[in-house]
């Protein structure tokens, strides 16, 4: 089942096409990476999904029904990139107020807040003010406020910025736990290593358009360059073969690019027949970071390859 379906969403501003015909689908319980360079239209897209902006055209379907910003607020939790809390308001009251705005009953909200505060060791914060918190603590509070009302869809914009590794792991574990319980999470970030680690699926947007869509594994497969790393004892000085080209040569390792029409087995046979003793052999997949940069810079793959071989 899909939590969210976007169909041909468009939002044009006076100066630019912020979102230009984007469609995508987010399955239930999926951790979904929304990637794109600055100014790609991510924030505008998120603001349409959270009901802050109305799309110029296209449709948003939430849990199988047309999205109704006014009544569906409870289904969505949104943590903006720039954190926002009332500095002078007591933390307990603030969490309660924002939960009630989402549509929770007071008693219900208090139980949930206490539960979350207990789990994330924030019980002593109730009567403190936000201005007394450190940046990381504020982040934790913001996360709790975002997920408190148990939304079906959580949108996190750079949730780990400013968090120390311990707290980042804490939040990460909570994200996994939520996803396991069926919550879908849209995770917007620039940090590709986090995306690779956390996300199931990704969408890459640039200049208001979707340029990539799929699972992390699929995307990596789609961008692989048939590169393999081989570790051998005693690398021969001269390697000549019509099966592959040597891309890089290190002390005990060579990186090869297999030519079209050949298979990894052919490479292995080549070295076995040579009498080399193979220690390791594995495929090198591109990192999302590489893919991201390659796509966004618009540099043709071929040229980049030429550069490395020269």
């Amino acid at each position: 089942m899909n939590i969210l379906e976007l169909q041909h969403l468009k939002k044009y501003f006076a100066t630019q096409k912020a979102v230009d015909d984007i469609s995508m689908v987010i399955p239930k319980g999926n951790i979904f990476g929304l990637l794109g360079p600055n100014g790609a239209g991510k924030t505008t897209l998120i603001r349409m999904i959270t009901g802050i902006f109305y799309p110029d055209s296209g449709s948003i379907t939430l849990k199988g029904k047309a999205f109704d910003p006014e009544n569906d607020a409870r289904l969505i939790g949104y943590m903006p990139e720039e954190r926002g809390l009332y500095k002078k308001m007591k933390i307990g009251e603030q969490a309660l107020y924002l939960a009630q705005l989402k549509g929770l009953k007071k008693a219900e909200a208090i139980v949930k807040i206490r539960d979350w505060f207990k789990r994330l060791e924030m019980e002593s914060w109730w009567n403190k003010k936000v201005e007394d918190l450190s940046k990381g603590m504020g982040q934790k509070l913001q996360f709790v406020i975002t997920v408190l009302h148990e939304p079906d869809l959580i949108i996190l914009d750079e949730p780990f910025s400013g968090l120390d590794p311990v707290n980042a792991n804490l939040i990460k574990d909570e994200i996994y736990r939520l996803a396991q319980n069926g919550t879908s999470i849209i995770f917007s970030t620039h940090r590709m290593e986090q995306v690779e680690e956390i996300c199931n699926n990704i969408v890459l947007v640039n200049k208001g358009k979707k340029i990539l869509d799929g699972s992390v594994a699929e995307v990596k497969q789609g961008f692989k360059e048939n590169l393999f790393s081989i570790q051998i004892e005693n690398i021969p000085d001269q390697i000549t073969a019509n099966i592959f080209d040597v891309v890089e040569k290190k002390e005990q390792q060579i990186i090869v690019k297999i030519r079209e029409g050949y298979k990894p087995n052919d490479v292995l046979s080549h070295f076995i027949n040579n009498g080399s003793s193979i220690i390791a052999f594995n495929e090198i997949l591109p990192s999302l970071n590489d893919i991201f940069i390659r796509l966004v810079e618009g540099t043709p793959t071929a040229r980049q390859f030429e550069k490395t071989t020269l």
Partner: protein, 427 residues
């Protein structure tokens, strides 16, 4: 609707619980009281009560006459000197006197001393005119008594002479109207309205800017519509203003009456009661207060929504706020400039139109209403003014709401008024 109430509640409670609210609510009337009592006290304190000995060589000045003259005020200024004159003249300051006068032997009841009639007050310090005046009055009072005695005017004849007529305005339509009370109430209402509009209007502006720069706005508008957030804030702060007004208004009536009683010659209970009655009967207090509540809320909505629009457009820099809000502050101030002319002639066309046009009506109508409804302000004027103000604030909140929903999520450069108007009329 439920969410707007939540927002109103938060705005109202966080503000009313703030120390600054409690302090300003208490401090304002106290400051006002302090100012009135302080100045009266200082005036009383700095008035020199001279103690003057009278050395009478004419034999006309009698002790009982001096006693009567001394009763003109609380200070026993004059004393008839009966002891050794030379000794007194030499040592009057050590005897506790500030000075002495010598009534010459040739003082006649008819002509006094001579054509100039100057009596010299011998002192060893210099005293101001303010200190001399009561003494001079008393001496003349004594002479007056001497003249009456010599002319044979007894208390019965004196009572006949004392009879006077007084001129009192009687408005045929409204027997109770009293221009003096009306101007005071008009002035106080107009000024209070001005204070509330400016103070609470800028609170709305700062509140909106705070939400914007804290980025809480983005979190909240994912739960409620921007318009709900804006209107909730405006109503919440409006209720704070109303609460403060209701606390003040009760204080102000007390202060006004107390201060009026202070101004009177005799400071006793009956005059306080009298002046309270005077104010309450001369002006329809219930009407004034209920009109004030209407104009306070409607005027507040009118202006504070504009302030909210500005608050949404600016960023952290408060100078931006000043330059953008200046035209609005000027509109409010314009009414204050008109106030003097309106009080002088509440029926002039200027007063009538200024009390009907929405942007000046909250202040100017409140200046006019104490002069009487429906005599000074006919019902049609009041009704038209109220209708136009309701229409006016509906327009400004709509207009502001359009600017607000764009501005609250827009960061970076401060927009100009022209750009803001374009936001308002874009789809």
């Amino acid at each position: 609707m439920h969410k707007i109430i939540l927002i109103i509640k938060r705005e109202f409670l966080t503000r009313i619980r703030k120390r600054t609210f409690i302090i300003s609510t208490i401090l304002f009337p106290l400051l006002y009281l302090g100012l009135i009592f302080g100045t009266t006290y200082i005036a009383e304190k700095t008035k020199d009560n001279l103690k003057i000995g009278i050395i009478d060589s004419s034999g006309l000045f009698k002790a009982d006459m001096i006693a009567v003259a001394n009763n003109m005020d609380t200070a026993k200024t004059l004393t008839l000197v009966t002891e050794n004159k030379e000794n007194f003249m030499a040592h009057f300051d050590t005897l506790g006197y500030d000075g002495y006068v010598v009534i010459p032997q040739n003082f006649s009841w008819k002509n006094g001393i001579d054509s100039a009639n100057i009596i010299r007050l011998n002192t060893r310090k210099t005293f101001g005119i303010g200190a001399m005046e009561p003494a001079q009055k008393k001496l003349n009072k004594i002479w007056e008594q001497i003249k009456k005695d010599s002319l044979g005017i007894d208390t019965v004849k004196q009572a006949i002479i004392n009879r006077t007529v007084s001129l009192r305005q009687s408005n045929e339509k409204n027997r109770n109207s009293n221009a003096e009370s009306a101007s005071v109430i008009g002035y106080v209402s107009g000024f209070l309205m001005y204070l509330i509009l400016i103070l609470y209007g800028s609170q709305v502006m700062m509140g909106v800017t705070e939400e914007k720069t804290n980025r809480i706005a983005e979190v909240v508008v994912s739960s409620v519509k921007p318009f709900q957030l804006m209107i909730g804030k405006i109503i919440g702060i409006g209720l704070v203003a109303l609460t403060q007004f209701l606390i003040w208004i009760s204080c102000i009536f007390i202060i006004y009456n107390v201060s009026k009683a202070q101004g009177g010659a005799v400071n006793n209970a009956s005059s306080v009661v009298g002046s309270v009655q005077n104010v309450f009967t001369s002006v329809n207090i219930l009407l004034v207060v209920s009109c004030f509540v209407f104009y306070l809320l409607a005027g507040f909505f009118f202006y504070s929504s504009l302030y909210a629009a500005i608050g949404s457009a600016i960023n952290e820099d408060m100078r931006e706020a000043q330059s953008l809000s200046f035209p609005i502050t000027l509109l409010v101030m314009f009414s204050i400039f008109l106030m003097g002319a309106v009080i002088k002639d509440p029926n002039s066309p200027l007063a009538v139109w200024a009390s009907i046009i929405p942007f000046s009506s909250p202040i100017i109508m409140m200046v006019r209403i104490p002069f009487g409804v429906p005599n000074t302000v006919p019902y049609w004027q009041l009704g038209l003014s109220m209708l136009l103000l309701i229409g006016g604030f509906m327009f400004t909140t709509w207009f502001a709401g359009r600017i607000y929903r764009t501005g609250i999520l827009m960061y970076g450069k401060k927009p100009s008024w022209k750009e803001m108007i374009r936001w308002a009329f874009s789809k």
